[in-house]
Each structure stands twice: as C-alpha cells, then as structure tokens.
Symmetry: C2
Subunit: 306 residues, 2 copies
C-alpha cells in the first residue's frame, strides 16, 4: 500500500489569495484578504495558500503575506500555506510562523530564467538545499515542479528532466511532489502517464496536481488525475489567475467547478458550494469583472428558474 | 464487433450555425452564414449542422435554413445537416434537398413542454412516426434524445425513460442515437455508465454525444465518452450557444478546444486549428464579444510570445 492509497480524502487547496491575486493590478487590502480567507475557510476549504514570500517590489500584491499569516494565526479546521521561492522567503516563513509551505522550481530552463531569473539546474540546487533547511526548521513542506507537462517556450519537457528534479527533491527529504501544469499543456493521458510513472518510481511520495486551465482541459485533467489515484489538487476560487511570464495563461481550475465535478461524481468534498460561490461573488464584485468559473452563475440561475 | 467498433474515425459535427446562432439576437444574413459555413468546411469539419426547420416566427434566426442549404448544395468533403422537430420541418427538409437530418425529442417532460410545447410521450410518438417517414423518403437520419443526463427542472432522469425512448426510435429504424446533455448535468462517470448501457443494449446502434458546457465539464465528458468508445461528438465553434428554455445553459463544447484536446491526446481530427480559429474570430468580430473557447487566444498569444 502506497502513501497515495492511505489518503482517502480529497484535498482541494485553494490558491486564489496567492496564484489568483498575484496577477491583479488591484492590490487587495489586508482586510479584504482576511475576508476572502474566512469565506473560503467557512465554505469548508481545508488548506488555503494565502500568499508568497517574494520581494514586495517584484510582487507588491503579496507584500503583506507575513502580516496576513500572523493575523490569521493557527486554525484547527484549515491549514494556512504560503509559497517560498528563496532563502529570504524561508526566513520570513519561519518568522511569521506559517506551518505549511510550498517550495517549487521549474523544470523548463527558459521558464525558470524568466520566472526565477536563474537557470533551472541552479534553481533546483538552491531549492533542494532550502528544502533541507526548511524541514530541519520543522516546516511541513510540499515540493513542487513547474512546467512538467510542457512549456510554451520549450514545448515538451523530457520525462528524465522531471524525474531527475523530483529525485533530488525527494533526496532532500520532500515527501510530496506537486506536479504543475503551469501553462495548461497537459491532457488526460499525459496526466495518467506521468502520475503512473511517479507512483511506480516513488510509491511513498504523495503526488498533488496544480493544473492551469489555459486550454480548458483543467477539469478533464483533474478527473484523469483522480482516476489515476491523486487525491490532492490545487484550485482557485473563480478561476482567478494566470502566470505573469506566460502570456495568455489562465488561472487554476475554478474551485467551485471542481467541487461541482466531484460532488456530481459522488466524491464528497466537504465543501459547501453555495457558501463557496459567495466568495467568488466577493471576488467578482471587488474586481468588477466576471471570472471564468461557471457554478456561481449556474446557482444564481437555478434560483430564478421557473 | 459492434457498429461503434467499426467506426475508427472521429466525427466532430459543428453546430455553431444552428445551436449557436439560434440564441443570438443578431440575425446573421445568408451571406454571413455561407461565409461561416465555408470557413468551417475549409478548416476540415466533416459535418455541419447549418440550421433547423422551425417556425420562422418562433426562431427567426433559422428562417433561411432552406435557402442556405439550397445555396450550399451537395458537397463532397462536408455533409450538410439540419434539425427537424415536426412534420412541417420534414416537408421543408425534403423540399430543399438536405441529405442528413437530426430528429430529436426530450426525455424530460417539463423540458419537452417548454421547448416543444407538448408532453414528452406525445412528442416521442410523433417523432417516431416522423422518423419512419423521413427514412422512407431516403433521408439519412440521426435520432436524438435531449436531457438524458438530467434536467434542471426534473433533476435526474430515470434510465428506463431514456431506454424506453431510445427503443422506440430504434424500432422506427434509427441507427444512431444522439445522447444530449442539454443542460450540462453529465459527469464523466454518468457518461461512461450510460454509454456502456447503450453499447450493451444496442450493439448495432451508433452513439453520438451532444454535451453542453454549462458547468465546464464538456471536455471532461467528451474525453470520458471517447474512452467509452464514442467517436462522434457535437461541438460548436467558439462555444457559441445555449438553450432558450434553460436559463444559464452554456453552448456546446468549443470546437477548437475539442480539436486541441484530441490532437493533444494524439487522436487525429483532420481539422486545421489555425483555420478553425479564424472562423471563431469571424464570429467574435461579428458578434462583438468574446466567446468561451480558449484556443483562439492561446494561438494568438503564442504568436506574440518572446
């Protein structure tokens, strides 16, 4: 029995506060972030990535991540998480007391140079060292690999490059690898294939998926991942987001649409869809635009159906 | 070996000219429809539903369906199809010389009363008689059942009701049953289940799927249908459309996004994606709004990627 088999529950990690808001020109106040966090938590989301420890000059939207985490504090019913990309980030994470962090690098050299401003190999070497340090410091870490299903700059990424990077992260102590389709290039069969390879190669390592919906395949890919045994997926309320370094990239799969899919399949999510779409409504009202997620409008129209 | 097994090729039937345009307040001219038809045909679409024979007062957008079909004439590389809902429609179909027609009824009584203004049982009885008549007249017909995966008015539809309606259509001579998820309520497992039931019950009957994308599950459902052995799917350039009697219903799966999915899976579609998104561009420019399909923007952004 593998680690994947011993995790019966589905984990939908919402990333609207990080992967979503980091793309918005409108910077949300601490109060607005807290409000969104609480709406998501109250809807039943069990892990929320609330920000990233990046330089405030580069991503000002995330500047108050430390303060937000301090204000939220530790919660019993929801795990607060944040993204670490460098040693300064680890320092901030430890200082503000966040318990769960994501630490990821790109397996595409071009994407790594644009996004992390360093070659992929160099970024990986730094990150594996940082993972050791974070674990020694007692942090619950999730290692991540970006662009594993392809890259708009480099096309297909060699499986060996993905496995090599994963191997190094696992050697550093990582017990979960998050496979990210950063530019929405995965398809249900490439998901099935890579997940099977990982489950065979690393039966004791948890696999989670972070799937951008650029080509509309996000839900099909989550479905394929679920059927392949994955039980942990990143999603984003409203489908907010994208990637500043990949033009035209869409956000993650809308949390509410993933919840609807799983509930339709008969897989309990523990998430209250009606409460969740209220969080989406808050985002849409604040940003004054419609987000890609479908279920807010489906529920709104059901109310007025005659 | 069943009929499904002997059809190796994928058929993506575009319905933008019917299921799409019937919802638009802007009525397309004959010239515009011809232009769209030719763009779709030139992109490699092998069957195009160009209109429906409904009363011009009820659906004025489709009033020139007969003239459009006469103008197009018979084509070697693309099958022209239209929708028939009653005996007047059959008369018009025979008069204008269309060779392929869809003839469908709803299995949801409430939806049937709203959409066809008669109870489902009555609509089915008329339609089966009409199917016999159409076949006797030499038409290539496709029988269809709407709302088989659920109905916003009635919720889940009993499988027995679906099989009963299919049985009657098959007894009337139908050799293809189009299963329609009119309100986007199917999920990948309900697709798999119903397709398996049909293939077991009616091994000699072709199954095609008409899946609305209301809850964003269209591509996941097409994927599930494909893996279940279905090789014929209705799609709609741009994802145009909806259902006038189901508030909030979205259009069919965008043709360009289905093409991208199949090509990503390594399943050849014979469709030129770049040419296809030009047809989507024509629709978006004419309607002066962005349609739900993703691939037009993905291709546009790829061009400008640095």
């Amino acid at each position: 029995m593998t680690s994947n088999d011993t995790v019966p529950e589905l984990l939908l990690q919402d990333e609207a506060l990080r992967d979503g808001l980091q793309m918005e020109s409108r910077i949300f106040s601490l109060e607005e972030k807290l409000h969104l966090y609480r709406m998501l938590r109250n809807a039943g989301i069990k892990r929320i990535q609330v920000g990233s420890f990046v330089h405030p000059r580069i991503v000002p939207q995330m500047a108050d991540t430390d303060e937000l985490i301090r204000t939220i504090g530790r919660e019993d019913d929801c795990e607060v998480s944040a993204l670490i990309l460098n040693d300064k980030g680890l320092e901030r994470a430890l200082s503000c007391g966040v318990s769960h962090v994501s630490m990821s690098v790109s397996v595409s050299d071009t994407h790594s140079r644009k996004n992390a401003r360093r070659p992929a190999a160099e970024a990986l070497a730094s990150m594996t060292a940082l993972i050791r340090e974070a674990m020694t410091a007692g942090l619950d870490i999730r290692a991540g690999l970006q662009c594993v299903f392809g890259c708009v700059y480099e096309g297909r990424i060699a499986e060996s490059a993905v496995l090599n990077a994963a191997e190094k992260m696992i050697q550093s102590g990582a017990r979960e690898i998050n496979l990210a389709d950063t530019t929405g290039m995965a398809d249900p069969w490439s998901i099935r294939h890579l997940v099977a390879v990982f489950r065979r190669e690393y039966p004791d390592v948890l696999i989670s998926l972070h799937l951008h919906d650029t080509r509309g395949l996000g839900l099909a890919n989550i479905f394929s991942g679920y059927e392949s045994g994955v039980r942990s997926f990143d999603v984003c309320a409203g489908g907010l987001g994208g990637c500043p370094f990949v033009k035209g990239a869409a956000g993650n799969v809308p949390t509410e649409d993933a919840v609807n899919m799983f509930e339709s399949l008969g897989v309990p999510t523990g998430i209250d869809l009606a409460a969740l779409v209220e969080a989406v409504a808050f985002l849409e009202n604040t940003l004054e635009r419609t987000l890609p997620g479908r279920m807010r409008r489906v529920l709104a129209n059901q109310k007025t159906c005659t």
